[in-house]
Amino acid sequence: MTDVWFVVAGWGVIMGGLALYAGLLLRRLGAAREASLRIRRDAEALPPPAPPAT
């Protein structure tokens, strides 16, 4: 393997890894925002809690 291939491997993994992590982070953030919205919508749709029995 010539030096150039070590440069390609070094840069490729680091830049590719950075892009992959950024992409996955945005996907995780999107999914979490959606789940949070769903929870909020479900909570708003629920009837108010019944008063405690005396």
Partner: protein, 248 residues
Amino acid sequence: MKTRILGAAALAAVVVAGANALFVVPADVNQGDAQRIMYVHVPAAWLAYLSFGVTALAGVGYLWRRDLRLDAVAVSGAEIGVMFTAFAIWGGMMWGRPVWGVFWQWEDPRLTTTALLLALYVGYLLFRRLTDDPHRRAARAAVVGLVAAVDIPIVHFSVEWWRGLHQGPTIGSPDRVLNPAAPGQFVIALVSMVAAFTLAWAWLMIRRYQLARIEWQIEEHGRLGRISAARHAARTAAARAASGEGAT
């Protein structure tokens, strides 16, 4: 919106500084093209230190203020720091093979303490999964993060304290800042890559922090839901028992 602008600026900076480091700056006379790996290896190592430093400081802040937002900062720093430490190790290995003749050497203090740093913070992230209680988790993680941070100065100064394969600082020590042991063009390329990577790091930290906050809210909602369901079940059981007693 501001975070989007930061993300776009970081992307543009990484592309421009990366193109300069790969295609404009000449190859090193002694190391050849392998030296170009330094332009990603050094920023990755710097950001690993910065991330774990932020984790330690946020941990101290949490122990002082008991604010879960600081725990969200701490976990963001740890996760991103683990990624940059892995990148620094990978870049170092790819540079080490053509220049030193080996990918790795366990006898080298810088390499071994960096591997230990990676293991410590992977352990930190796993340790956080041991408890569901957010305050207990944050307090324990803060202590672990502080203990693990002891390795950061050891990694940095290992090249001065002990002898090994890894060379001493080229621009990173106080006496080298104004008198770097590398040509100006190389130093400018390296500093611009460090700046570009630091912008990308800032964007990643903000996004990871936002994710940690939302995950905490979802977790809290689930916890409250479980408590509410348990209370409801207990009330129903008590009502049934009371009606059963009344019937007999």
